[in-house]
């Protein structure tokens, strides 16, 4: 904690930075009677989350997950290179907790992260898909296992630094996009169940872009100027193919690059290097721009074509998580769908299926739909759920 007698000024900071925190927490009674576990990644967002909750008086407990061996995840396996000690992020999280005066623990989730996130990630690439491991991580290690641990510790809530807003709705909690469009992370939370949302809290979702760093700086946290994490935590920048190869040796088998008619245009060194819609790195000279339009894991082919071939009028979602009170209607419902984390939502009609999936018909055909990505459904600002974009073409 900041120095003695600073509570008043802290409360002013709090009121200034996050006037709606108490309402968002939706925990009746005095804050000090509620234990809140904060998932601290070692980054500035979760540090600010913890700081806000400490200042508001909650009984805050920080937990950092050890998810992978920082050396082994990026380097080829070296005999005896296994280190027991964690990377910089765990160190940073611990320092933040010390500054805030809260207990902090590290949970060793390496094994489950490997089997539930990293290996499915590699398998997806091998199968010609483009996975979103952050969703799987939230779905398994964070909001199932860590949440369960938070319950074991007697916590009334598990808070994370995700940029989404949680509101108490008429039929239970709802998730709204983060106020700052540029930082909204609702895409990665589509698989969160209503049960999980009962315990989850996202104190940062209503804050402006630079507020997080201001909070961290005001609390004197060493991470206030730390760079945002990039892309996928266990993949060094631009190097996912090596991770795939290490997890699934032999996954990067070479094959042919063919056009829509099956003519061979060139060779590639593994379909895992490609994603739908990709234009660069094909190594083919053609009169017009060529894009990856399909990945065929059976023939190990990368199928390329012109831009218009990328467009698709519909898609199929599997494993749909639906957050509304009434089930997803088979007769269809008007929603917006986001098919990539980096793309804006687009209007569509979504039909519920009896197999737990959904059929999505876009108002206008969409380019670059990649199997394995998430199709995330919104009604205005509200996250309604979503599913995994399936390989099977819509029938």
């Amino acid at each position: 904690m900041p120095g003695d007698g600073d509570m008043d000024s802290m409360n002013r900071v709090l009121a200034d930075l996050d006037p709606t925190l108490a309402a968002d927490m939706a925990l009746p009674g005095r804050p000090q009677d509620h234990r809140v576990v904060v998932a601290m990644s070692g980054g500035v967002d979760s540090a600010a989350t913890a700081a806000l909750l400490v200042a508001a008086g909650y009984d805050v407990v920080g937990i950092t997950l050890q998810l992978y061996d920082h050396g082994a995840a990026t380097e080829s396996a070296k005999a005896g290179g296994k280190t027991c000690c964690a990377g910089q992020d765990i160190y940073d999280a611990r320092r933040v907790a010390e500054t805030l005066g809260i207990p902090h623990y590290v949970l060793d989730y390496e094994h489950r992260f490997r089997t539930q996130v990293m290996e499915p990630f590699a398998d997806a690439y091998r199968a010609g898909e483009t996975p979103v491991p952050c969703v799987l991580c939230n779905q398994t290690v964070k909001f199932r296992d860590l949440l369960e641990t938070a319950r074991d510790l007697g916590a009334d809530a598990l808070a994370t630094g995700h940029y989404v807003r949680r509101r108490q709705g008429e039929h239970g909690p709802m998730v709204l996009r983060g106020t700052d469009e540029g930082r909204d992370q609702s895409y990665f939370l589509f698989a969160t169940t209503r049960d999980q949302l009962e315990l989850l809290r996202f104190p940062l979702g209503g804050l402006a872009k630079d507020a997080t760093r201001r909070i961290a700086a005001r609390f004197g946290l060493a991470v206030s100027a730390k760079a945002d994490s990039q892309d996928i935590c266990f993949v060094p920048t631009g190097g996912y193919a090596r991770v795939v190869e290490r997890l699934r040796p032999g996954a990067l088998e070479p094959g042919e690059i063919v056009d829509l008619d099956g003519r061979v245009l060139g060779r590639h060194d593994g379909i895992a290097h490609f994603t739908i819609g990709q234009r660069r790195g094909l190594g083919i000279a053609a009169g017009h721009p060529l894009y990856v339009v399909r990945l065929d894991p059976v023939r190990r082919q990368v199928v390329v074509g012109p831009e218009h071939a990328l467009k698709t009028p519909r898609l199929r979602l599997r494993g749909v998580n639906w957050l509304a009170n009434d089930p997803l209607p088979p007769a269809g419902v008007r929603l917006d769908i986001k098919v990539r984390s980096t793309r804006p939502a687009t209007p569509a009609t979504v039909f519920g299926r009896s197999d737990g999936g959904a059929e999505v018909v876009f108002d206008t055909p969409q380019p670059g739909i990649a199997p394995g990505q998430a199709g995330v459904l919104y009604q205005g600002e509200r996250l309604m759920g979503g599913g995994w974009i399936s390989r099977d073409d819509a029938d």
Partner: protein, 378 residues
């Protein structure tokens, strides 16, 4: 967090005894290097030798057998490397500071109580004629199980093998006598018995040659170079003397420990102390709450102001599956849910009550979810 704590993790480090605090404080302001010729040096030397007497007395050794080190890990390293023997046998439940010095060493298996398999030891020794070094600890840090070290020595002597005994956990908790155990080398550590961390000793029986690992300076009769950590060593000596005097009280902890185990078994169905029927240190219990990961128990207890350990904690604070319980073939459902509670010279009935209350509250809070997890893991 609670202001006061119930500290039940003496096997990790024991609270420093007041005798040691006083001795360290006094010596910190003393001028002089024990190797110096002048009177200041002589004064320092005299404090050092007094500490050597005290440590020797704790384990029934001669002062000239005692080589001071920076702690138990260094003493183990010196023992494992210093004899020059390259054929090395270690029990499967040794501390990492023994195991990791010679990862390729042959492992002597243990039974389900964690007690060394003497027949397996004999078979290993008989399988090769090169002179061997056998490392078997006196008492295990995680379970408290006491090894039949005298029997190990009897077997080893038939094959002219040297025996190193890691007595870091045993010293100060049970009587330790170098001569009656018959071992050739023995390591002890200050902070496990109420001295400061950063001091330890390797006890080397006369006639056993150990070459220095840390060289230069000729200190400790050429067996450990470097200016002695006088405050640490003097604190070690004071703590050793106090621990020796406190052995009857340390032995009586077994009553408290046994009562504690009975209370837990009565209050929490399905929990079980590990190796409870084996000879154990009087202060240690390793107890499992199947369905609740060890690390979660440690966290929940810490939040209630109670300090205990799970497995072997590494410096990052994360815990790994215990190699000790694995060697004992304890089922993973039990091993992954085991914690170590270790009492000591500061332990009160209040500390134990606080632990029992917090642990039972944790078990109650998880309630039926615990059985469900056990069922799904089994």
């Amino acid at each position: 967090m609670t202001d006061t704590i119930a500290y039940l993790d003496h096997n990790a480090t024991a609270p420093v005894r007041p005798e040691a605090v006083a001795a360290v404080a006094e010596v910190l302001s003393l001028i002089g290097n024990p190797s110096s010729v002048h009177r200041a040096g002589r004064a320092a030397r005299s404090r050092l030798e007094r500490a050597r007497d005290q440590v020797a007395a704790l384990v029934g050794a001669s002062p000239s057998d005692v080589v001071f080190t920076s702690g138990g890990s260094e003493a183990n390293m010196l023992a494992m490397v210093g004899t020059g023997r390259t054929r090395i046998l270690v029990s499967a439940v040794e501390h990492a500071s023994v195991l990791e010095v010679v990862p390729e060493a042959a492992r002597i298996p243990v039974d389900s109580n964690g007690i060394i398999d003497l027949a397996a030891l004999e078979a290993l020794l008989a399988s090769d004629t090169r002179p061997a070094l056998v490392a078997v600890m006196l008492a295990n840090n995680e379970t408290g199980v006491i090894q039949p070290v005298r029997d190990v020595v009897a077997v080893a002597n038939r094959y002219d093998a040297l025996v190193h005994c890691d007595a870091v956990q045993a010293a100060g908790k049970i009587p330790v006598d170098l001569a009656s155990l018959g071992v050739h080398l023995m390591s002890v550590s200050a902070h496990k018995l109420g001295g400061p961390a950063g001091a330890g000793a390797l006890i080397i029986r006369p006639g056993v040659t150990v070459a220095a690992v840390q060289r230069g300076g000729g200190q400790e009769r050429g067996r450990r170079g470097g200016t002695e950590n006088l405050p640490g060593i003097v604190g070690f000596g004071a703590a050793a003397e106090a621990a020796l005097a406190g052995l009857p009280a340390a032995g009586a902890l077994a009553l408290q420990r046994d009562r504690l185990e009975r209370r837990l078994e009565a209050e929490v169905p399905g929990c079980r102390p590990i190796a409870a029927s084996a000879p154990r240190l009087p202060n240690t219990t390793c107890i499992s709450l199947p369905g609740v990961a060890s690390e979660v128990q440690v966290m929940a207890l810490d939040l209630a102001g109670v300090c205990v350990s799970a497995g072997a904690a590494c410096s990052s604070g994360k815990t790994g599956r215990s190699h000790v319980l694995k060697a004992m073939a304890v089922h993973p459902v039990i091993a992954d849910a085991a914690i170590r509670v270790s009492l000591g010279w500061t332990t009160t009935e209040g500390d134990i009550n606080r632990f029992v209350t917090a642990w039972c509250a944790l078990a109650a809070r998880i309630g039926p979810r615990r059985q469900a997890r056990v069922a799904s893991a089994a």
